[in-house]
Every structure is written in structure tokens, then in C-alpha cells.
């Protein structure tokens, strides 16, 4: 078996997936210690964002959602600034104003995560519009969930991107639940990717646990988009290994998914799958792969220290950033 993908891409994907994993394991620990509040973990879905972003350039844009650490880290976000933001500190990406759900780094094309479900889908579509209007080549991708796919915003954006032939990539992360509700109870169609037909664009169903599959599907979507061939809808079938958000298990009363199902999906850990692929094809050794994880762990610890030591935003920050220039305080 050989892979149609270069080693540096594979290792970059592995590194970014470990970054997400360790970053969020650290968050879980910090949540347990009362250092931070509840956040939405991406653990189990790392291959989706990482595979997709590996197929894009820094000058391409992405937007995300409330499950909000995976996308920016996959696109190249700085762990220190991300962690500091989750701590609500001045050195965070948003100077502490955004928190976990609003990470953004415009400098590397991260247009931001969104707490309102599906709300960033039109925004990402608009970035693609700008690309087309200005005759640029950048593409714009947006990550949203199976639950989000039922929002009108998705319909309107996919239709708009199609009729205007925009370089937008719609990436639906079907982790099969919206909080406690199965997508089988809320999505009228078997596969969300089937809806692409309704917008006259390709709809691709991808194994979301397989970073390489995500990379390849996205690469094709990026090629199309850059080439003026319009948008693509990718459905990544995946699973979140943890609860909807840290802390939710304490208030949730009903069991909505079986332990057996969770256990089975855990066997399809995206990090194990990618590592195995790399090792089996001889692209790198197990030891090389392990070294990536170890190095990232150090990075994450540094980020945690950085976040802890960053000051809280000062009172004088309160009115800043409401507008682009100073306005009289009302």
C-alpha cells in the first residue's frame, strides 16, 4: 500500500491532531481542577478539521462553530493564544472577550468560531464571494454539525454559493448527535451529503475518522473551488467521544446513546488510524510518530502556563472593540 500524499503533509496532520487532542485533554484536566468553565470537546473528530485544513493554504479561510478548538488549531492557530483566550486573559486571541466559543485568528484565515449554531455558514460563504468578486484564488470553508444542517442558514448559503458559483466548501461534521438528539430523528434524509443534489453541487460522504480521506476529499473540493467550478458539500461521518460539553453530564438526565456505541466508535480513534496508516506504509516509524505526540505535550504545557500567567483584561478594555474607532461611552 502506498499513499498519494506527501510525508510532510502526513506528519503535519499528525502533529495538528495531537495538538488538538492534548490541548483538549489538558482542558479536561483544567476543568476538573476548576481552572476553566465548560467547553465543547472535539476529541474523536480531530481528523475532520485537520484533514480538511491540511488541504488548504494559509490564505484560505475557515469558519467554525461551538465545538471550537479543533478548527482553529487545525488551521494553524497558536496554542498559547488559544489557551489564554479560554482562560479569558488579555493575551488570548480575542483579548479575553471571546472565550472558548469565539476563537479566531484572521492572520491565518480563521474567521472565527460561532456560538450560534450555523451562524457562521453565511459568513464563510461571503468570504468566498469576496474571493470571486476580486478575482482572487482563495477558498473559504465552513465546519458545521449534523444539527446545524437543519438550519435555514445552511440552505440559504448552499443555494447562494451554488448559484453564484462560489469557492465555498461546506463541511458537515456528522457526529450523529446534536446534544442529546440523534440526527436520525431530525435530519429527514439518510445522508446530509445527499442534500448536495438540492443545490446542484457535489456531495461527498467521507469517513471522518480518517484524516487522509478528509484530506483527499477536501483537496478535490479546493481544486474545484480554485478552478472556478464552485462549491462542494462534504459530509464527514464521525463521532464525539466525550459529552456534548464538559459539565453537561451532571445536568443531563436521559441516556441518549449506548455505551456500546461509544465504545465501538472509540475503537476508531482518528489518531490511531492515521498513525497506523503512516507506520504501515513506511512513511515514518512508530517512534517518530510518538515523538510528535510527546513534543506537542510540551507545547501544550507551555500554553497552559502562558495562559495562567497572562493577566485578566483591565477595566479599560470594556468598551474597546465595540467599534473600529473610539465612540462616546453611553
Amino acid at each position: 500500500m502506498t499513499l498519494n500524499i506527501e510525508k510532510d503533509v502526513l506528519m503535519l496532520m499528525l502533529e495538528r491532531m495531537w495538538r488538538i487532542r492534548h490541548f483538549e485533554l489538558k482542558l479536561t484536566e483544567m476543568y476538573g481542577a476548576g481552572e476553566i468553565g465548560g467547553v465543547h470537546l472535539y476529541i474523536g473528530q480531530e481528523a475532520v478539521a485537520v484533514g480538511a485544513c491540511a488541504a488548504m493554504d494559509d490564505s484560505d479561510y475557515i469558519a467554525g462553530n461551538h465545538r471550537s478548538h479543533g478548527h482553529p488549531i487545525a488551521k494553524g492557530a497558536n496554542l498559547k493564544k488559544a489557551m489564554a483566550e479560554i482562560f479569558g486573559r488579555i493575551d488570548g486571541y480575542c483579548k479575553g472577550k471571546g472565550g472558548s466559543m469565539h476563537l479566531a485568528d484572521f492572520s491565518v484565515g480563521i474567521l472565527g468560531e460561532s456560538g450560534i449554531v450555523a451562524s457562521s455558514v453565511p459568513v464563510a460563504t461571503g468570504a468566498a464571494l469576496a474571493s470571486k468578486l476580486e478575482g482572487k484564488k482563495f477558498v473559504s470553508a465552513v465546519f458545521f454539525g449534523d444539527g446545524a444542517s437543519n438550519q435555514g442558514a445552511c440552505h440559504e448559503s448552499m443555494n447562494l454559493a451554488s448559484v453564484w458559483n462560489l469557492p465555498t466548501i461546506f463541511i458537515c461534521e456528522n457526529n450523529q448527535y446534536a446534544v442529546t438528539t440523534s440526527y436520525r430523528d431530525t435530519v429527514a434524509v439518510e445522508h446530509i451529503s445527499d442534500r448536495a443534489q438540492a443545490y446542484n453541487m457535489p456531495g461527498v460522504l467521507v469517513d471522518g475518522q480518517d484524516a487522509i480521506a478528509m484530506y483527499e476529499a477536501t483537496r478535490e473540493a479546493v481544486r474545484r473551488a480554485r478552478n472556478g467550478e464552485g462549491p462542494t458539500l462534504i459530509e464527514a461521518l464521525t463521532y464525539r467521544f466525550e459529552e456534548h460539553s464538559l459539565g453537561l453530564e451532571k445536568i443531563r438526565k436521559s441516556v441518549y446513546r449506548e455505551d456500546k456505541e461509544i465504545d465501538e466508535w472509540r475503537l476508531r480513534d482518528p489518531l490511531e488510524i492515521l498513525t497506523k496508516n503512516i507506520v504501515d506504509t513506511g512513511m515514518a516509524t512508530q517512534a517518530e510518530c510518538d515523538a510528535v505526540s510527546t513534543a506537542v505535550q510540551v507545547e501544550v504545557e507551555e500554553a497552559a502556563e502562558f495562559a495562567r500567567n497572562s493577566p485578566f483584561p483591565d477595566e479599560s478594555e470594556l468598551y474597546k472593540d465595540m467599534f473600529s474607532s473610539e465612540m462616546p461611552v453611553v
Binding site: 468553565g37 483566550e85 479569558g88 486573559r89 480575542c94 479575553g96 472577550k97 471571546g98 472565550g99 472558548s100 466559543m101 469565539h102 460561532s114 456560538g115 450560534i116 449554531v117 450555523a118 451562524s119 444539527g147 446545524a148 437543519n150 438550519q151 435555514g152 442558514a153 446534536a178 446534544v179 442529546t180 438528539t181 430523528d185 431530525t186 435530519v187 453537561l248 445536568i251 443531563r252 438526565k253 436521559s254 441518549y256 485578566f312 483584561p313 483591565d314 477595566e315 478594555e317 470594556l318 468598551y319 465595540m322 461611552v329 453611553v330
Partner: protein, 322 residues
Amino acid sequence: MTEKMFMQALGMGIAEEMRADPKVFLMGEDVRASVYGAAAGLHDEFGDDRILNTPLSENGFFGAAVGAAAVGMRPVVETLTSFMWVGMDQLVSQAAKMRYMFGGQATLPVVYRAVMYYGGGSAAHHSDRSYPVFMNIGGLKVVTPGTPADAKGLMKTAIRDDDPVIIFEDGTLLGTRGDVPDEPDFFVPFGVANILREGTDVTLVAIAGSVPHALAAAKELASEGVSVEVIDPRTLVPLDKETILSSVAKTGRLVVADPAAKVCSAASEIMSIVGEEAFWDLQAPMQKAASKQVHIPFAQSLEKLVYPSKEGIAESIRKTLD
């Protein structure tokens, strides 16, 4: 009377009304699991047919509730204030306007339960306090319970009401406790303010989550010899103007504590009424103790500066006494 949490009181009110009338049903995202708390136990008692988990489609299911109500059902819809923007068209164009534009043909007994999470680091996308918006729009009753007893009694009145109602459930109050009447015939009427504390020097109108802070401030001022009358309007549409105006006639001073952003807030409205209708009673400038005009920052060091606090309210009261 039993001591209950505000959140439980809301649930009691819903449960009692569901028992009383088979046309009442609850719908919303993850309501069966009661992710937001107040619906705990309802799915066990009422089952799938009356507790409906919806897709993530606020505009769609807010509107479906209108349609169901228009043909005789009594839907109770759970959401968060910040998700109402997504379904705004159905709230404004249909729920609020339908009856009037159809010359009274539509009777819409639908209740929207809008949970207001704020104050705990939920950041800009999850922290709206949007009742002033609906006050301006008109056609919707706007309810802001401030105590557990009111949470139950106003919820029950809302469900029995034949008009569309939005009940703003203040997240900062959900965990507060208080005596709640057990009787199923306990209802709190709309349009009747609650004088939480009588006083003679200053009228302090307190809305939703600012109620506890207002009471604390009044207590502090009492120790300084200032007698503060604390009034919770309980419903903003209809608004019990008379209670506020008579209090100001007595005290000559007005402070309004309002967790909404201050511009065009409920506080603005109440001050405009008093400035027009009770001007000659006023002995000092009115004071607006509302939230600062910013989106909600995540960092606690900033967020805590935004809302009217006990200290802020006390300071506003003192200003009226200068």
C-alpha cells in the same frame, strides 16, 4: 408553600398546566433530556407525544408553534434569548402580528420560554437580555419573573393566556430559592407589579435578575437611614404603570435597575413614562442602573462590570439623594 428553586418552580408551573389541559405541550431542542433544567421530569410524566425534541430550526419550530396555536393547541416553546434572533421572523411577523393584521381572527396561546444566560462567562453569543426589543415590537406579552413564586405563577398565567407570551427566564435567578405555593390554582396575574419592599424615600424598579441586587441595595441603604421602595413590575407588557407612578408620587425619586443593555432598555421606557407623567412629583434626576452598552465579554474581569450590581444600584440611589 414549599421552598423551591426558581428553575423547579418554572417546571412545576408547566407540569401543572400540562396536567390541567391536554392541549398544552412542550417543544424545543433536547427538552426530553431537559438540558436547561426546568423541564426535568416532564418527559417521564408526559411522554413523547407531549414533550417534543425539535431539530435545530428555530425559525421553523417557533413558527410551527404559532400554527399549532392558531388551530387550537397551546404550545410551550423552550429556547434561549440568543437563539431567538434565528427565529425572529416567526416571532415578529407571525406570533406578534397575526392577530392584529387578521382583525382578531387568530388566537395564539403560545408561550416562548427564553432562558437568559448571562453573568457566567457565556460570552457575546449566549448572553442576550432582549426583552426591550420585544417591548418595542408589540403584540407579545413580555414576562420577567423575579422570584421563584412568580416563576411558577407567571408561567401558569402565561400558559392560560390566549396571547403569545415570552417569558424571560433569568439565568442568574435559576438557582435562587424561595417559598412557592403548592396549590394548582395559584396564578400571578399579568400587569400587576409586586412591591417587594415598601419605602418612602426612593422608588427602585427592579427587573428580572436585578431583583436580588435591588433588595440587597435597599437593605444597605436602610442601614444608612434611607427608605427604598422596591418594585418588580413582573410583566413589562402589560406594564403596571400605576404602581410605579404612585410610588414616585410618594418618594419623588426613581432608580430603575435593568440587566438589559441600557440604550432603549426597559429602564429607558420607564424613565420616559415617569418623566412625562410624573414629572412634577420628581425631586431629583432619575437614575438608570442598567447594563453597560457593550456586548458581553467572556472574561470575568470585564463581564462583572457590565450588569447592575448591588453596589451600582446603591450608588444610583445615593445619586438621587444628593
